[in-house]
C-alpha cells in the first residue's frame, strides 16, 4: 500500500520542539506515512506509521515505553509492541498481520540545528 520511496533522500520534517517527548507524531516523508518518536533524551526514532496487524495508520498514536533498555511503542489498536530502534516486533499478542511482515520499516533520523531530518534507509 505504501508508495515507492526513494532511498537515501533526506527530508527536513519539523523542528525538534514540535515533538512532545515520549509522544509520537505522524509525518509525510516522500509520500510515506512515518511515525516519529522523541525519547526522553531527545533522540528521535522513526518507524512506519502503519500498524501491520490492523492496517490502520496509527502507530504514531501509541504509547512510548521501554522493555529493559529497549525503547518501544505499543499499538493503540491491539497493544502489539515494537522495538523503536530496529522495528522488530517484540510482542505480537498472538495475532498475525493483515499483510506483510510483523516488523516495521525504519527511517534514519538526525537532529540538526534543532531540526528533525529523516532519511529512508
Amino acid at each position: 500500500m505504501s508508495p515507492d520511496v526513494s532511498t537515501g533522500v533526506s527530508t527536513d520534517v519539523c523542528a525538534l520542539d514540535a515533538l512532545v517527548p515520549e509522544r509520537g507524531a505522524a509525518a509525510l516523508v516522500d509520500g510515506a506515512q512515518v511515525a516519529l518518536f522523541r525519547l526522553a533524551d531527545d533522540t528521535v526514532l522513526a518507524v512506519q506509521n502503519r500498524d501491520p496487524f490492523c492496517g490502520a495508520n496509527v502507530l504514531a498514536r501509541g504509547i512510548v515505553g521501554s522493555v529493559g533498555d529497549t525503547p518501544t511503542v505499543t499499538s493503540p489498536m491491539h497493544k502489539q509492541v515494537w522495538d523503536l530502534r530496529t522495528g522488530a516486533c517484540l510482542d505480537t499478542g498472538g495475532k498475525v498481520p493483515v499483510a506483510g511482515s510483523v516488523d516495521l520499516a525504519t527511517w534514519a533520523v538526525e537532529v540538526r540545528d534543532g531540526r528533525v531530518v529523516v532519511t529512508h534507509v
Partner: protein, 861 residues
C-alpha cells in the same frame, strides 16, 4: 471420580421442586453417567426451583423471581425434565407411578419425595379473612405485596401490620411489611424472640434492637382471633391479654409441618410427629422410594433448614449411584438475615450439655450480647449466641465441638482482641454448612484445581454461594493456602512497577510526586509502558494533579484519552457527547444531525442512551467539538476509564408505576461523577421502581427507587461476565444516596486494581459486601468523611475537557494528522456504503475517501 452406575438408576422422579430437589438434580448431573437415565421433577408451585432462603429479598431488596431462581441451566440438560404448576395427587407404589392433579401419570424406577413443609397456622377465628397471609412461598409474598399496595390505596393510608410468630421468619416478615410501607407488630407466644435459637439474654438483646427498627414486639402473648372490617377484610387482632390491635394485614409465621400426605396415603411409614420415616440412607420403608429435606423424618425429627436437606440430597445421589454415603445430622446454626439487626447462634445454645460453662459478654452501650458455651474444662466449643454483632458467628461456628485454642473470654473481648481464626482450621471442619463444604475441600480448590481467587474457589466448590455467611472464613482459608502453596500470583503491574495499582495509588497519594518521571524513578524502573503509564495518568487525574490534557501527562495517555475520543478500527474516532439521563431537546438533536451530516459521520444510538458519531478523523475532532460545544454539549468521556453514562428509566415524571424521579436522580449522579477517573470505566443505572427497567443491577452502581427512598447496589456488570449488583444500603434519602455512592466510588479509586471493574472488586473484596457495607455505610474505619471530601473536590474542580482543549491553542497541536502537513488528512482512509450510511472499506470494495460521497455509491454485493 465416577462410580459405576448401578442397575437401579433408570427413571428417577422427584416430587417437589424446591431447593433440595434442585440440589439432587445438580448432583446427579455432576456425577451420573452421560446417558441411560432421566430425572423428572414435579412441582406444584408455578416456578422453577428458587432460593427460598432469600425469599424476603423479593420485597426488602427489590429482587425479582428470576433473581431467586436456582441455576436454571440444569433444566437445559436433555437428561432432566421439569414440570411445574401441577401438584402430584397420588402415589401408586405397586404400579410405580405418580399421578398429578392435572392427570399426568409418570412412571418411576426411583422416587424421591422432596415435598418440603407447609406453613402451619393456628386454628383461630378469622385466619381465612382477606389480608391474612402465610410466609412460605413466592406466591405468598407476591400476594402479600399486592395486598399491601391495593389495601393502602383503598384505605388511603399506610397499613398497620401484625405478624404472629417472633421466630426468624416472623421477623423477616415484619421487616418485609415495613419495607412495603406498613407498620409491624410482632406477637410471640414464647417469652422472647427467636426462642428456638436464642437464650433469654439473647432474646432480650434482640428485642431492644428490634424496637429500634420501629417494630412493636409483644411476647408471652397469643393471637386469639381476627375480626373483619365492614367490607370483609381483616381489620383487628385480638390478643390473649384482651388487648385488641389494628391489623390491616396479618402474617402467620407459626412454624412448619412436613408435607407427608402422599406418603401417608400410599402406606409408607410416617413418624410420630409427622414426616416420612427415613434411615441414614434416606430410603423410606419402600426401597424404591426416598425422602429428603423437610418432609423426611430422621430419628423422629424433621428439619426446617436447607443445610440438612442438601446433605440428604447428596446422600441420595451417592446411593443412587451405588455409593455408601450415610446421612448424619450436623449441628445446625441459624443467622437472622435481611432484618437489619444481627442475631445468630449455633450448637448448644442453652448450655444443656452436662457440666457446660457459659461465658457471656453483654454490652448495653453497644447493644451487643455474646455468649460462648464451652465444655467443663473450658476447652471445647459447644455453642454460641451472638446478638447485635454476629461477626464471630462465621468464624466460630466451624469450630463447634473442637478445641477453641484460647481462653473463651478472649473471643468476647469488646475490641479487636479476638484471636484470628480461619486460616488454620482442620481439613475436616465444615466451613460452609449450606453446601456442606469442608476446609479441606476449599484448600484443594487451590492446590488441586488451580483456583487463585475467592471467586474461583466459590465457583469451584459452591462454598459461600447460598447464605454467604462463611465467605470471610473461606477468604482466609484461600489466602492462607495461596501463601502456603507459594502460588502467590505476581502482583506486579508490569516490568516497571512491582506493585499493584492500589499500592501505587497509596504511595502517590501519600507523597508529593506528580509527574511520571518522578514517580517511576521513586517507585519503579525504566521508562514505563502501555500498561503502567495510563495507570499513572489515571491516578494523577483521580488525585486532581493536573488536567488530563496537560503536557506533562500527554505522553502517558492512551490515544483515546489523549484526543478525547474513542479509536475505531480504521484509525478514526467516535464522538459521543454527554446526554445526561438520555434527555435531549429537539434543538440539540438537530445540532447532532447537522454535525454528523456535515462531516459524513455514521450515526447510531448507543447502548448508554446517547448518540454516537463514528468516523471522525483526528484532524476533524476540534472542529466537530467546537460545533457541539456551541450547541451546548460537553464531553461524554466515552473514551475514558471514568463514568460512561447513567442509564435511567423515565420514572415518576411520566410512568404510571414510577415511585421516584429516576431521570432527575440519573442526571444529578451523571453531572456529579462525570470526568471522575477510576481504575476502569464505570456505569450507573437508576430505576424509578422495583420493575427495574433501567437494569440498574447490571451496572457498577445501581439505584432503585422504593416507597421509602433509594436502594443502592454495587458491583454489577453486563458483558461477558454478567453479575447482579449487591445491595449496599436501603431506603436512602437523596443526600444519603449521594453520600454512599461518593464513598463507594472514592473507595474504588483508592483500592481497585488496574482495569478491575467494580464487579470483581466487590466480589473479591475481603469480607465481601458485608465488609464494604461496614466501611462505606457504617463507617467502621472512620474514613467516610475523607472519601466524601475526595468526590466533593472532584465535583468542585470539574471542567469540560473538550471546552478547555479548544480554549488552549497549545493543546490543539496533537490533532494534526501530520506534523509536517497539518492540512492533509490520512490518504489511506476509504469508506463504502452501509444501509444508507458508511463503514470503513475493505481492500477491493467500492469506496471513496469522503464518507459523504461514499454513502451515495451504488453497490451491488
Amino acid at each position: 471420580m465416577r462410580t459405576a452406575p448401578p442397575v437401579t438408576l433408570g427413571r428417577v422422579v422427584v416430587v417437589g421442586a424446591g431447593m433440595v430437589a434442585h440440589r439432587l438434580v445438580a448432583g446427579l448431573l455432576d456425577r451420573a453417567p452421560d446417558d441411560g437415565w432421566h430425572v423428572t421433577v414435579l412441582g406444584d408451585e408455578p416456578w422453577v426451583p428458587y432460593d427460598r432462603v432469600h425469599l424476603s429479598e423479593l420485597v426488602t431488596a427489590a429482587r425479582t423471581p428470576d433473581d431467586l431462581a436456582l441455576d436454571p441451566h440444569v433444566w437445559d440438560d436433555p437428561r432432566t425434565t421439569l414440570l411445574v404448576g401441577d401438584a402430584v395427587a397420588r402415589l401408586d407404589r405397586d404400579a410405580q407411578t405418580v399421578t398429578t392433579r392435572g392427570g399426568r401419570v409418570v412412571e418411576y424406577d426411583q422416587l424421591v419425595l422432596a415435598t418440603g413443609s407447609w406453613a402451619w397456622t393456628p386454628r383461630t377465628e378469622g385466619t381465612d379473612l382477606p389480608g391474612v397471609f402465610r410466609y412460605r412461598t413466592l406466591d405468598d409474598l407476591e400476594a402479600m405485596r399486592a395486598w399491601v399496595a391495593d389495601r393502602s390505596a383503598v384505605l388511603g393510608r399506610p397499613l398497620r401490620g401484625a405478624v404472629v410468630g417472633g421466630g426468624v421468619l416472623g421477623l423477616e416478615a415484619a421487616a418485609a411489611l415495613q419495607s412495603l410501607g406498613a407498620s409491624a407488630t410482632v406477637v410471640e407466644f414464647a417469652d422472647h424472640l427467636m426462642n428456638v435459637q436464642l437464650d433469654a439474654g439473647g432474646g432480650e438483646a434482640l428485642r431492644v434492637l428490634v424496637d429500634d427498627l420501629g417494630m412493636d414486639v409483644r411476647t408471652s402473648i397469643a393471637c386469639t382471633g381476627l375480626a373483619a372490617a365492614p367490607d370483609g377484610s381483616v381489620a383487628t387482632m385480638r390478643l390473649s391479654d384482651d388487648d385488641e390491635i389494628p391489623a390491616d394485614v396479618v402474617v402467620f409465621s407459626t412454624g412448619v409441618r412436613p408435607r407427608d400426605r402422599l406418603a401417608r396415603e400410599s402406606g409408607l411409614a410416617i413418624g410420630e410427629r409427622g414426616g416420612v420415616v427415613v434411615g441414614a440412607t434416606c430410603r423410606t420403608s419402600d426401597p424404591a422410594v426416598w425422602a429428603i429435606g423437610e418432609c423426611a423424618s430422621f430419628d423422629g425429627e424433621c428439619t426446617g433448614l436447607v443445610a440438612p436437606g442438601n446433605a440428604m440430597a447428596d446422600v441420595v445421589v451417592d446411593r443412587l449411584l451405588g455409593g455408601p454415603r450415610l446421612y448424619t445430622p450436623a449441628p445446625e446454626g441459624t443467622k437472622l438475615k435481611g432484618v437489619g439487626v444481627d442475631a445468630a447462634s449455633f450448637g448448644d445454645v442453652f448450655g444443656l450439655t452436662p457440666g457446660a460453662l457459659e461465658v457471656t459478654f453483654t454490652d448495653p452501650v453497644a447493644r451487643t450480647y455474646r455468649k460462648l458455651v464451652v465444655s467443663d474444662d473450658a476447652r471445647t466449643l459447644l455453642g454460641g449466641v451472638f446478638v447485635g454483632d454476629a461477626a464471630l458467628y462465621p468464624q466460630l461456628r466451624p469450630m463447634l465441638g473442637r478445641p477453641l485454642g484460647a481462653d473463651p473470654s478472649a473471643f468476647l473481648a469488646p475490641e479487636g482482641g479476638a484471636p484470628e481464626l480461619g486460616g488454620d482450621l482442620p481439613d475436616d471442619v465444615v466451613v460452609c454448612s449450606c453446601t456442606n463444604v469442608t476446609a479441606g475441600t476449599v484448600r484443594e480448590a487451590v492446590t488441586e484445581h488451580g483456583c487463585t481467587t475467592v471467586g474461583e474457589v466459590k465457583a469451584c466448590t459452591k462454598a459461600g454461594t447460598v447464605c454467604g455467611s462463611c465467605v470471610p472464613v473461606v477468604t482466609k482459608l484461600v489466602n492462607a493456602q495461596l501463601e502456603a502453596s507459594g502460588i502467590e500470583v505476581s502482583r506486579a503491574m508490569c516490568e516497571h512497577f512491582a506493585m499493584p495499582r492500589a499500592e501505587l495509588y497509596a504511595l502517590v497519594s501519600a507523597g508529593e510526586l506528580r509527574t511520571f518521571s518522578e514517580i517511576v524513578a521513586a517507585h519503579g524502573t525504566g521508562r514505563g509502558c502501555a500498561v503502567c503509564k495510563p495507570v499513572v495518568a489515571g491516578i494523577l487525574s483521580s488525585l486532581r494533579a493536573g488536567h488530563v490534557l496537560s503536557r506533562d501527562h500527554a505522553p502517558l495517555q492512551d490515544t483515546n484519552d489523549h484526543v478525547m475520543a474513542n479509536l475505531q478500527k480504521d484509525g478514526t474516532y467516535s464522538v459521543i457527547p454527554r446526554v445526561p439521563g438520555g434527555e435531549i431537546t429537539p434543538e440539540k438533536l438537530m445540532a447532532i444531525g447537522a454535525v454528523a451530516s456535515e462531516f459524513g459521520l455514521y450515526t447510531r444510538i448507543t447502548g448508554a442512551q446517547r448518540i454516537g458519531m463514528f468516523g471522525a478523523r483526528i484532524d476533524q475532532l476540534p472542529a466537530i467539538w467546537q460545533r457541539l460545544i456551541d450547541a451546548g454539549f460537553e464531553s461524554g468521556q466515552a473514551y475514558g476509564k471514568s463514568l460512561r453514562a447513567v442509564k435511567s428509566c423515565v420514572g415518576s415524571a411520566w410512568c404510571r408505576f414510577g415511585v421516584r424521579d429516576s431521570v432527575g436522580m440519573g442526571i444529578l449522579l451523571e453531572n456529579r461523577y462525570r470526568g471522575l477517573r477510576t481504575p476502569h470505566k464505570f456505569k450507573v443505572g437508576v430505576s424509578g421502581c422495583a420493575r427495574e427497567c433501567a437494569e440498574a443491577r447490571g451496572k457498577d452502581v445501581g439505584v432503585i427507587a422504593t416507597a421509602n427512598g433509594w436502594n443502592v447496589y454495587v458491583g454489577g456488570n453486563g458483558g461477558a461476565n454478567p453479575r447482579h449488583a449487591d445491595l449496599l444500603a436501603e431506603d436512602l434519602s437523596d443526600d444519603e444516596l449521594v453520600a454512599v455512592v461518593d464513598r463507594f466510588l472514592a473507595f474504588y479509586v483508592r483500592h481497585g486494581d488496574r482495569l478491575q471493574r467494580t464487579a470483581p472488586f466487590v466480589a473479591d473484596y475481603p469480607g465481601g459486601i458485608d465488609e464494604l457495607r461496614a466501611i462505606l455505610v457504617d463507617d467502621a474505619q472512620g474514613i467516610a468523611a475523607d472519601l466524601e471530601a475526595e468526590i466533593a473536590a472532584h465535583v468542585g474542580d470539574y471542567r469540560d475537557e473538550w471546552a478547555e482543549a479548544l480554549d488552549d491553542p497549545d493543546k490543539l497541536d496533537r490533532f494534526a494528522a501530520f506534523v509536517n502537513a497539518p492540512g492533509t488528512a490520512d490518504p489511506d482512509l476509504a469508506y463504502t456504503p452501509l444501509r444508507g450510511q458508511v463503514r470503513p472499506a475493505r481492500p477491493g470494495e467500492p469506496a471513496h475517501h469522503d464518507p459523504r460521497v461514499a454513502r451515495t455509491l451504488e453497490v451491488t454485493r
